[in-house]
């Protein structure tokens, strides 16, 4: 029998998918995060450069940057791109305009659409459809935030869709309803005493995303909930369920301390 070759077998070695997921999400968050200055000298140099620029600009005042205006066939809209926006028109036809925003912020002012007309912004996390409005879309590492100034937009992610009226904001996150937003909503439910609703959200997340980025949070809060409800057997079960997946760390230590004796 041929002996295995572990060194080469390690070429196929991969971490838990949840670890890969955390690496990818963490890297994206770090990549998109504003960088901190490393040397105070840099700050001093920047300040000196700023003074120099200000001094130079006194004699020759600059004009404010005008927003870029694009006119699509059948759909008129105006877009102001943030400096960090990565923005492009993905599809444009007689009655449809779809723009793709992969990072940064862009603000749109869209005239009322003609019958059958469509204007949408696609981001890595979902799709924002215009009903005739002015709104901003900001792509962050995990979520896309939509701030609506006028009118209404429809935010869609896969099968989920909801309307966001003027004056409101809404985030669509990677993992959509089963992502960070679900955990937050569940915690809100629990804090407000809507225990069954909160538990339902957490369990629902674990069913849909058993290896999801927030599985640890869901399992942890379910364990705390079981402990709080005073059901010793249920609490042991929930705590063991957490420890089986996440045996180390401060949460594991805390749950071990809380685990009821048999």
């Amino acid at each position: 029998m041929t002996a295995p070759d572990p060194l080469r077998a390690l070429a196929e070695a991969r971490p838990d998918p949840a670890v890969e997921h955390r690496i990818a999400e963490g890297a994206m968050a770090r990549a998109m995060a504003p960088r901190r200055p490393v040397w105070p000298l840099l700050a001093a140099a920047a300040a000196a450069a700023g003074v120099a620029l200000w001094w130079g600009s006194r004699a020759q005042p600059t004009l404010p940057t005008l927003p870029e205006i694009r006119v699509a066939t059948g759909v008129r809209y105006q877009v102001t791109q943030g400096a960090d926006a990565a923005f492009q028109v993905a599809r444009e036809s007689q009655d449809q305009t779809v723009v793709e925003l992969s990072s940064g912020t862009a603000t749109f002012a869209v005239e009322p659409l003609p019958p059958g007309g469509e204007f949408a912004v696609e981001t890595p996390h979902g799709r924002v459809e215009v009903v005739g409005t002015r709104f901003s879309v900001t792509v962050e590492a995990r979520c896309t935030r939509v701030d609506v100034a006028e009118g209404t937009v429809r935010v869609r992610r896969e099968a989920d869709a909801f309307l966001v009226p003027a004056g409101q904001s809404r985030s669509i996150c990677k993992g959509g309803l089963e992502g960070e937003a679900v955990i937050r909503a569940a915690l809100d439910d629990l804090a407000a005493g809507r225990v069954d609703a909160g538990r339902g959200r957490l369990e629902g997340y674990l069913v849909e995303q058993p290896r999801g980025l927030f599985a640890e949070d869901a399992l942890f809060h379910l364990a705390l909930l079981a402990r709080r409800e005073g059901d010793a057997a249920g609490a042991r079960l929930a705590i063991d369920r957490f420890l089986a997946r996440f045996p180390t760390g401060h949460r594991a230590d805390r749950l071990r301390a809380l685990r009821p004796a048999p």
């Binding site: 572990p6 390690l10 196929e12």
Partner: protein, 186 residues
């Protein structure tokens, strides 16, 4: 597996969707490099995040898709070296805990830990060449590019590394089970 040139071009244009795909493709590999270069799983996870974030910021310095793996590995080398420096006290005061398995797919926890233990006892330059040539399957010329040494030096380190590894493996597993270098040298 080299990066898809189209994906590389999109990443150079700061396309966030392309970066998300690249991160998904490379997260496991960078993590594996970091673990086999001596980091614990938690440290390797943090290092892998840092490597991929640096890659995002400096992709303009990578000349071509064909050079991406080499370039990414060189970032990994620096980040891992920094991470290891941060835990210098562990080596100095010999407070190493028994390491935990880092992988779920692979040769199994026992063999994984045995291989990692042997790699950790090798001189770092030999372990690095074994990682790249014998684990990752890069050619000697590719390894030479990755570590910035001539191919002759790589061949020499590979030979010495394999010999040393065999000795360590025999000490660690005197039953001779599953010698990691049982195959003939190419």
């Amino acid at each position: 597996m080299a990066i898809d040139p189209e994906l590389f071009d999109r990443c150079r244009r700061a396309d966030a969707l392309a970066w998300r795909r690249l991160y998904r493709d490379y997260a496991g590999r960078v993590f594996r490099w970091a673990v086999l270069r001596g980091l614990r799983a938690m440290e390797a996870e943090d290092a892998a995040q840092e490597v991929l974030a640096i890659a995002y910021r400096r992709i303009g310095q990578c000349a071509a898709a064909g050079a991406f793996d080499t370039w990414l590995y060189q970032i990994t080398r620096r980040v891992v070296a920094n991470a290891r420096r941060k835990v210098w006290w562990r080596r100095v005061f010999a407070v190493e805990r028994v390491p935990e398995p880092a992988f779920v797919d692979g040769p199994g926890p026992e063999l994984e830990l045995a291989v990692r233990a042997c790699l950790a006892r090798l001189p770092a330059d030999q372990a690095e060449v074994l990682l790249l040539a014998d684990v990752e399957g890069y050619t000697r010329e590719e390894v030479a590019d990755m570590i910035g040494r001539p191919p002759g030096t790589v061949a020499s380190r590979l030979r010495l590394g394999r010999e040393a590894f065999r000795g360590l493996w025999a000490d660690l597993r005197p039953d001779g089970a599953a010698s990691p270098l049982a195959v003939e040298e190419p």
